[in-house]
Symmetry: C2
Subunit: 338 residues, 2 copies
């Protein structure tokens, strides 16, 4: 199995993930030995990315079942409902986390024995994980037609295999284009404050031998002005009927792309769409100030200074040239029927 085929989250006598907070320094696979540990892993971004969180939500239910001491199905199902609500609240913005939890809970709802619930929840989680890779490869195939040989493509954050079970969404499109022989060069924004661009995107593209240049987030405008960027592709944490929620900075890149007449694509599975809601209904997670004020042993900002650190921003659909999904490419306001 090549590195690009490796999974970000998998089951092997228990739940395993790659600890993404340790990349690119070291590739640590860690065993998630309790529901509490999974929730902690989600909160600290040891596992992150909307599609990966979908699988994490599903595996979380399987994990709760696996470790349960309940002796009857009724008690176990109640326990899993409670586990589900704890998992859902670990991160509020990405819709996939709830989606993975809910789908796995539905799969066991009418199962009658403890043993069968344990098996059925794991089966559903494994099914979601397998599906994720198939879906991302379909997104990749659909999106790769939008990229031309020689394109310079801007991306923000990490919507790669590390944000999914495998292959990736935005980076999956790039992988699929490279797979069919197109020469693609990626500009990866470092993505402050947690540097998913430098730590994860640059790492996974370099692993796959895809040409990548790392830049500061604020350099995208200047590169667009100098005609160094042909297209931009990002992932999504949640797509409502009016906006795309994605990593803070996405909106700035989208406005800049529009101003320079550069196509701006969003690649996401249908499980990231939440078309019953609009922007106002979604809570944008604010993360700890220390993410901007301290890095390793270096103090970047004076103690006590006010810091505003939203994890996401909202990009109106009219700034998005097209949405790339497993079901095809949609030009907003046209949206997939889900």
């Amino acid at each position: 199995m090549s590195l690009s085929e490796a999974r970000t989250i998998w089951w092997n006598n228990g739940l395993w993930i790659i600890d993404q907070t340790k990349l690119p320094g070291s590739v640590n696979n860690i065993n998630i030995h309790s529901l509490k540990a999974l929730i902690q892993a989600i909160k600290t971004l040891q596992i992150r990315g909307a599609p990966a969180l979908g699988a994490a939500g599903a595996y979380g239910i399987a994990l709760a079942a696996y470790f349960s001491k309940s002796h009857n199905a009724q008690d176990l199902l109640q326990e899993l409902e409670w586990a589900g609500s704890r998992i859902r609240s670990a991160r509020p913005t990405a819709v996939n986390l709830s989606w993975g939890v809910d789908r796995t809970l539905r799969a066991v709802m009418n199962v009658e024995t403890v043993e069968e619930i344990k098996e059925a929840s794991l089966r559903e989680a494994e099914c979601i994980a397998d599906e994720d890779i198939r879906i991302n490869k379909a997104i990749g195939r659909n999106g790769s037609k939008l990229l031309e040989d020689g394109d310079n493509v801007l991306t923000h954050c990490n919507a790669g295999r590390l944000a999914c079970v495998g292959w990736g969404t935005a980076l999956g499109v790039i992988r699929s284009a490279v797979e069919v022989g197109k020469d693609i060069h990626v500009y990866a924004c470092e993505t402050r404050p947690l540097n998913q661009g430098s730590r994860l995107t640059a790492w996974e593209l370099a692993q796959d031998g895809i040409e990548v240049t790392l830049i500061c987030d604020s350099a995208s405008g200047s590169l667009m002005r100098k005609r160094c960027i042909d297209k931009a592709i990002v992932g999504a944490d949640r797509i409502t009927k009016d906006v795309v929620f994605n990593k803070i900075g996405t909106y700035s890149h989208a406005v800049l792309a529009k101003a320079h007449n550069i196509p701006f694509y969003v690649a996401a599975p249908l499980s990231s769409f939440d078309l019953n809601h609009d922007e106002a209904a979604v809570c944008v997670e604010e993360r700890d100030a220390s993410e901007l004020s301290i890095l390793g042993d270096v103090r970047l900002a004076p103690g006590g200074v006010e810091i505003f650190n939203p994890a996401f921003d909202a990009t109106p659909l009219e700034l998005i040239t097209a949405m790339i999904t497993e079901r095809g490419v949609f030009k907003p306001p046209l949206m997939p029927i889900i």
Copy 2:
């Protein structure tokens, strides 16, 4: 002397600077004991900011004279010419460095004795340093009229007292507005990769009790969309007849400000104007890749990954609502006569 009156560079039986690479952790005043040490301090950004570099260029000539062992005026002047060319090349983009060197060299050109050259070069450097503060206070007075009570003002990088001998240009405007009783809240962009926004701007505003909120560079667009920002003010490293060179990211903020109908101001002394040249004539300094890949003991990007790290970008004048100088406020394409 209050902290906000303290100078960034000064002469006291030799040349002293605040080591800006140590802020906000500690306030280290260091004695610059040779021309080589000054050039190193400029290259490593222990001293930085266009107006401060003007004074550093001037003091550099005084320093070279001070330490010279030349016994006749002719030899000393040759030595100072050579020192000037070394200082000028320490950083290529900010025009003030050359301006400070050239002005001090001109002041000693016709001086006839070694002792008088030493005195005259130091006198000229002290004069430039004193002038810098007077000029910045004039910029502040002129610019403060553009700010209204209650304004939320975005700034990028550090165009504060630490970028000058004192008071500041962009932050000088904010200081002057606060001094006349206006309530101003500043959004400081952290300014990757060297975090002058978090390390310097947040620090000096907090020292002065001016309300400041630190944000990621990429969050400016989202804040503008949410109507949290009323105005933007930045400094400049060089203003040519067509563009403003300033810290990487300035152009992105300017395009975003235009898209959201937010005034975008540049505050700079006339010594930063270089109206005989255009964008194409200016070399944009590219800095070391390690500024993006390593921070303290943390590796942010995998070794060997390609990194593009320009220190500056160019913002066309049409994106600038007005230039704030010591001689008044100019709306491009109108430019000060210098």
